[in-house]
Amino acid sequence: MVTEKDQRIGEKMSHHTRYIKVRVVLPDGKVKEIEGPREVKAILRRLNILENTVLVVRDEELLTPDRLLEAGDTIELIPVISGGLN
C-alpha cells in the first residue's frame, strides 16, 4: 500500500528526475535539443562535459550544477579552458 508519505517522496523524486526537453548551446556554438533529467549536473554528465570546464548560463543567469531546469529552457555552455601554456 502506498502511504501519503511515500507519495510525497515519489513526487519530490519525480520532480528531480523526470525527463524534460531543453535546448543546449554547446561550447563549440552548435545547438542541441536533448531530452534528459532536470538537473544541470546530470545534463552535463549526459553530454560528457566536465562541470568545471564550462559556465552554464540561462537567461543571463549563472547556474550551479545542482540547479533544476524547466521544460523548454535554453542553456548556454561557455567553455572556460584556454589552450597553450605560453
Binding site: 559556465l55 543567469e61 579552458i81 584556454s82
Partner: protein, 308 residues
C-alpha cells in the same frame, strides 16, 4: 545552492573551498585572492608602471580589469602573431577593452616585422606553442625594458600553472620545475614578471569575466588544438571533480616545498648565465632563444628550397 555567506542563490560552487557564493560575495572572494597573491609574493607596488600582456582572452582581460579596479598604473601590450582571423578578432577585443578602461594599448606587429608564428615554427622545426611562447616572452621583456615599465603582468591562472607543473614533472624537466614561480624577480636584462591570477581557476576567472561583462574572445587559438597542455588540464579537472582541492594542493604544496627541495640546484645555476651576443637578453648560450629562432628566417631566405 545558496551562498555560504548570505541567503542569495549562488552563481558558482567552489568545492575546493567547500563553498558557494552569490555574485557579490564571489567578486569579493576573487578580489581577496588576487590581493593575497600580490601581497604574498610582493608582486606589485601602487607606484609601479605595469605592462599587462593582453591576448583578448578571458584571463588577460580579467587581469587588466582587476588591476585597474585596484588602482594600479597599467598599460596593455598586444602582440600580433599573425594567426589569421583569430589574431584580427583578438586585437579587436583588446582594443575595445583598452577603450573601455580608457588605457593605452601598445601593439607590436610581430607578423609584419618577421613572419607569422606557424611559418616560424615550421622553419625552426618547433611546435607552434613553444615558438609562440619564445616570441611573446621576448617582446614582453623588450617592450618593458625599452619603455621603462617596472613589471610585466600576465594572466596565467591556477590551471595553467598546475598543468605546466604536471607536464614538467611527467618529463622530469627538473630545471624547468625549479624555475616555475608566480613571480620572477628583476635581473639584469630581465624585467620582473608576475602572475597575479595564479590562485584562481579558469572557471573562477570566466565567472568573474561574465559577471563584469568583460567582452573577451571565447574562440580558442586554432594552434592550441590537441596540445598536451590541454590533455594535462583535462586530467587535472577530472581528478579535481573526484577529489576537490587536489589541483590547488598539487601546485601550492609545490610552491611551499620547492625552496628546500631545489636549494642545491639553485646554487649550481649561479654564474652560468650569459647574455645574447645580438640583443643582450640573458641566456644560457651564445644567442637567446628568440635570436636563434629568427635566425631560421634568414637561413630560410637564403635557401628557400629546404623549406618548400
Amino acid at each position: 545552492m545558496k551562498c555560504r555567506l548570505c541567503d542569495s542563490i549562488a552563481v558558482i560552487s567552489l568545492p575546493r573551498h567547500n563553498s558557494a557564493f552569490c555574485r557579490n560575495h564571489f567578486v569579493e572572494f576573487f578580489q581577496k585572492q588576487v590581493k593575497r597573491a600580490i601581497k604574498s609574493y610582493r608582486m606589485l607596488n601602487k607606484t609601479d608602471r605595469i605592462l599587462v600582456c593582453v591576448s583578448g582572452g578571458k584571463d588577460s582581460l580579467t587581469l587588466w580589469h582587476i588591476l585597474n579596479e585596484f588602482g594600479y598604473n597599467t598599460t596593455g601590450l598586444y602582440i600580433n602573431l599573425g594567426i589569421g582571423e583569430y589574431s584580427e578578432k583578438s586585437l579587436e577585443k583588446a582594443e575595445a577593452f583598452a577603450k573601455r578602461l580608457n588605457k593605452e594599448l601598445i601593439v607590436v606587429d610581430f607578423a609584419e616585422e618577421y613572419t607569422d608564428i606557424k611559418a616560424l615554427a615550421r622553419f625552426a622545426d618547433r611546435t607552434d606553442c613553444s615558438t609562440c611562447g619564445v616570441v611573446k616572452r621576448y617582446f614582453f621583456n623588450r617592450v618593458a625594458i625599452e619603455k621603462g615599465f617596472d613589471a610585466v603582468a600576465t594572466g596565467h591562472n591556477l590551471d595553467d600553472e598546475a598543468a605546466r607543473l604536471l607536464g614538467n614533472i611527467l618529463r622530469w624537466q627538473v630545471d624547468l620545475v625549479q624555475k616555475q614561480s608566480p613571480v620572477l624577480d628583476n635581473e639584469e636584462g630581465l624585467k620582473k614578471k608576475v602572475k597575479p591570477l595564479f590562485r584562481l581557476t579558469e572557471q573562477e576567472i570566466a565567472t568573474y569575466a561574465f559577471l563584469n561583462r568583460i567582452d573577451y574572445l571565447r574562440e580558442e587559438c586554432p594552434m592550441s588544438k590537441g596540445t598536451t597542455s590541454l590533455v594535462y588540464k583535462e586530467a587535472l579537472n577530472r581528478i579535481e571533480l573526484e577529489s576537490p582541492g587536489t589541483k590547488h594542493f598539487f601546485y601550492f604544496q609545490f610552491l611551499e616545498r620547492k625552496k628546500d627541495v631545489f636549494k642545491h640546484l639553485k646554487e649550481d645555476k649561479k654564474g652560468v648565465l650569459s647574455f645574447c651576443e645580438r640583443c643582450g637578453t640573458p641566456c644560457s648560450g651564445e644567442y637567446c632563444a628568440f635570436c636563434r629562432l629568427t635566425d631560421y628566417l634568414s637561413k630560410s631566405a637564403q635557401t628557400p628550397c629546404e623549406h618548400a
